[in-house]
Symmetry: C2
Subunit: 378 residues, 2 copies
DNA sequence: GCGATTTGTGCAATCGTTTGCCGAACGATA
DNA sequence: TATCGTTCGGCAAACGATTGCACAAATCGC
């Protein structure tokens, strides 16, 4: 059924040459050893016969598949496709194709998939689903397969990474809500097995203490996954603790959206009663009310940077041990002054610079306590 | 640098056997010809030496790469990842890995990418970026590579497809807005080079005529792409034509969102002044106000169905020539009674059955003209 | 207990490329 | 004219797996 593809041998016969000569004539690097006349003839015949080199044979001989693996938690999660596109923007022009696999946050699945990539002889792997101690990643390292993690990193390893500046992002959010007057701030922490969840929590703690808040630990709820549902659950949990929280820093946008839903379910408004922030700035976020204040990460750039690093590793060139990409605060409508000191509506919030430690934990509300109506959406 | 992987030969040496024996012992289909004792020994050694068959060598010999290609317009477009997951839910358990490529709606790029897939010897291709006359698809057919299109189809070809019931979807939307009282309905048509854009327009025309509206052609704006921007542009164009349009059927959700934006820019409200509908029901849509009335398509199921068909084709078994998946109307807030005859709020709209041709084009507004305030959001 | 069958394993070719090595042909040089 | 480099192209061995065939040993029928 399947039409036989034309091979070097076919061309060799048609041209009355040896296959090795044809091979060389078609290889830009070997062309110099072949006369121009032959090269032209071979190229012409190859084109005419619709020759397409067999990458499997090529790979078998050279031990390079010109294929890379991209390991994701889930391609359906909107933050990953841009990363993939970034990776491919670099790899595709260099002739690499990518096998994309989804781990669905299962370590077992991850290992199976890495096995599959290994069996297919990928030349390198971009890993966006790394856990803090990632067995699959170590397996790849063991086999000497070039590997770069992106978006997340593997702790206590020499695995090169491209990550976002989590600490700075959290600090910017904290400065923002602090500037709005919030003093009792909670955190919905992401899965602590991921570097993002872990480092954002860490940053939240440090930022809190820097502002003199030593009791932050009581105001952390731990999400088991970066999902809507977990966001809802964590927010409900925080509400149940009955603390005077006026702002919630969620570890990512999805958790934040779930949190806002939970607030609504408890007849609390955002930002009227509680301000909420996210992380990532996923697509369409600005269209969902209340538009979420968040931190924008550079997904495409991250993918591209990771791919550049991978290229170097695959070429045995020295590469950076890691890259940290800058993030940027995007202030929107989900954050406002806390209810007991609402500013006049419409005034642009002015983020205050990080203040030198404030001594007292839970500094009492201060500044322009104008006590307006508790915001628009009641 | 790279650690040498263990091969059949290594195992053969370790076991004191010939590689062909080892090969057979490891192949479930050939195992019957080998004594149990040898099989067990070989399997044990293989496991211990961490043997992983070299798929490239395997593929070269058997001419099957156990790899498929998935061709998409753009993985960043939220409607495609679920299709991909559907495909993989079927293919992955059968041992196939997938090379995913993005055409970015460029025919040239598409051909280059198909070339790349061909070079890698994919066993089959799932094509979600087909155009009505798709050269790349025909190229694949020519080479005898099993191919199934999903979400879109290729006209005048025997290429098997899995599509959504476009005609029924449009009909459901038309019945819905007609039932609300709309009589002057416009269409923002998708790219006519795609089966989705084409068939939805066709269905709009037929549905209009079935209702006695023969002047529908004047109320069609053609989008060059399924984008936000084109939705805006088309809506502006329709507004500029100054027709008494009260409802707009957009060819997909993205166009609809753009259209609503344009309405807003012209100080018109949706659904107060104009009702708008989409198609696809993409994620998060229900959270963006006004929540869009749309038609839900089954992306995951479509991917899975396409993969099932591809499996059959790859096994040279007879397969369906095509599958049409059912769609379902999802009525939300972006549709309401037209402004000059607003029904009492809260009343559940009752879709009217398709009426026998109504003779008069542009039937004058009728029925319960209660003339209320022109809806909530002014 | 002898030939015929079955069973288990080895041999070697093959898939399509790449590449180290060798040798023929050529022009230039002595 | 003999020699020496070049230049160009062919030969053949890989890469790692599969598989038709051959062959030895074990098993069976009678």
């Amino acid at each position: 059924m399947r039409k036989k593809r034309t091979t070097l041998k076919d061309i060799a016969e048609a041209a009355g040459l040896h296959v090795s000569t044809v091979s060389r004539a078609l290889d830009p690097n070997m062309r110099q050893f072949i006369s121009d006349e032959v090269v032209n003839r071979v190229v012409a015949i190859a084109r005419q016969m619709d020759y397409r080199p067999n990458r499997m044979a090529h790979g078998l001989r050279t031990n390079r598949s010109m294929t890379t693996g991209i390991v994701l938690p889930d391609i359906s999660n909107v933050i990953f496709p841009p990363i993939v596109r970034g990776v491919e923007s670099v790899l595709e022009p260099r002739g690499y194709a990518s096998l994309i696999v989804n781990t669905d946050n299962s370590e077992r699945r991850k290992e199976r998939l890495v096995d599959m990539l290994l069996a297919r002889g990928v030349d390198g792997v971009i890993h966006a689903a790394a856990s803090l101690d990632d067995r699959a990643a170590l397996e790849l390292e063991k086999h000497g397969v070039p590997l770069v993690t992106v978006n997340r990193s593997v702790e206590n390893s020499s695995i090169p990474y491209v990550v976002n500046d989590e600490a700075d992002g959290i600090e910017q959010l904290m400065a923002h809500v602090h500037g709005l007057g919030h003093r009792v701030i909670a955190h919905i922490a992401g899965p602590q097995g991921t570097s993002t969840g872990y480092h954002r929590l860490l940053a939240f703690g440090e930022s809190s203490e820097r502002r003199g808040d030593l009791g932050w630990r009581n105001r952390v709820a731990y999400a088991g996954a970066f999902t809507h549902e977990e966001g809802r659950r964590c927010m409900s949990e925080l509400i149940a603790r009955d603390l005077p929280v006026t702002a919630v820093i969620a570890a990512n946008d999805t958790l934040a959206l779930g949190a806002i839903e939970a607030l609504r379910a408890h007849d609390l408004s955002c930002p009227g009663d509680v301000s909420v922030t996210g992380f990532n700035d996923m697509p369409f976020l600005e269209l969902i009310p209340p538009a979420l204040t968040t931190v924008r990460i550079e997904q495409f750039a991250a993918g591209a940077a990771a791919a550049e690093m991978l290229l170097k590793l695959m070429a045995d060139e020295p590469a950076d041990t890691g890259v940290v990409l800058p993030v940027r605060l995007v202030a929107r409508a989900s954050t406002a002054a806390p209810p007991d000191q609402a500013r006049s509506a419409g005034e642009e919030p002015q983020p205050v610079a990080a203040e030198p430690a404030d001594a007292g934990e839970r500094a009492p509300a201060q500044r322009r306590s104008r006590r307006g109506s508790s915001s628009s959406r009641a």
